[in-house]
Amino acid sequence: DVKVTQSSRYLVKRTGEKVFLECVQDMDHENMFWYRQDPGLGLRLIYFSYDVKMKEKGDIPEGYSVSREKKERFSLILESASTNQTSMYLCASSFGREEGTEAFFGQGTRLTVV
């Protein structure tokens, strides 16, 4: 089975802190994604990466950055956390550019910024 693992299930951080959310996948997938999930808004794409050291902005990249130094690991960085970044963060991965390829998700990290 594909496994996407997020390092923390719950995090509480203070406003202004630098926050790292880590994600690791074990299926050699090329593509990795970070989404945030908010009630009534569904999942919104923050950033994605289709190769090592490559990154692309998603629909809501403001206030976030990412790092992909190794194929299996994709990190989301909140440079200076703010209360409006309190949310559920979901990491996902998918294989290449195949027809019908699907995204596999981690369990999510619920981040609270106080």
């Binding site: 996407v4 593509n31 994604f33 989404y35 009534g40 808004l41 569904g42 999942l43 919104r44 794409l45 994605f48 289709y50 692309e56 998603g58 979901l90 996902a92 998918s94 294989f95 290449g96 550019r97 195949e98 027809e99 019908g100 390829t101 699907e102 995204a103 596999f104 998700f105 981690g106 369990q107 999510g108």
Partner: protein, 113 residues
């Protein structure tokens, strides 16, 4: 721009009743469509997907969905709902051959005993 709408925010059905969750998409090319389910506190699990061929697709847990190009719809159905189906359901469309995905806002399903 691609978009996905799910008109129903919350649906309540009785156990054993049939279910239909609606999904409409906006996409210029042939869409790759997905339904995911999220149980409380969990990540998303794929129920089924459509990318070509038969417009009626079968998934896990007894779910099926029908792709209707003329209506830009991909509705999810189940003939008899079980209490364990209570969850949130997301419809999604793939962009760029799966390089990223656009999700709908989700429909929360409650099941009455």
């Amino acid at each position: 721009a691609q978009s996905v709408t799910q008109p129903d925010i919350h649906i309540t059905v009785s156990e054993g009743a049939s279910l239909e969750l609606r999904c409409n998409y906006s996409y210029g090319a042939t869409p790759y469509l997905f339904w995911y389910v999220q149980s409380p506190g969990q990540g998303l699990q794929l129920l089924l997907k459509y990318f070509s061929g038969d417009t009626l697709v079968q998934g896990i847990k007894g779910f099926e969905a029908e792709f209707k190009r003329s209506q830009s719809s991909f509705n999810l159905r189940k003939p008899s709902v079980h209490w364990s189906d209570a969850a949130e359901y997301f419809c999604a469309v793939a962009r760029n051959y799966g390089q990223n995905f656009v999700f709908g806002p989700g429909t929360r399903l409650s099941v009455l005993p």
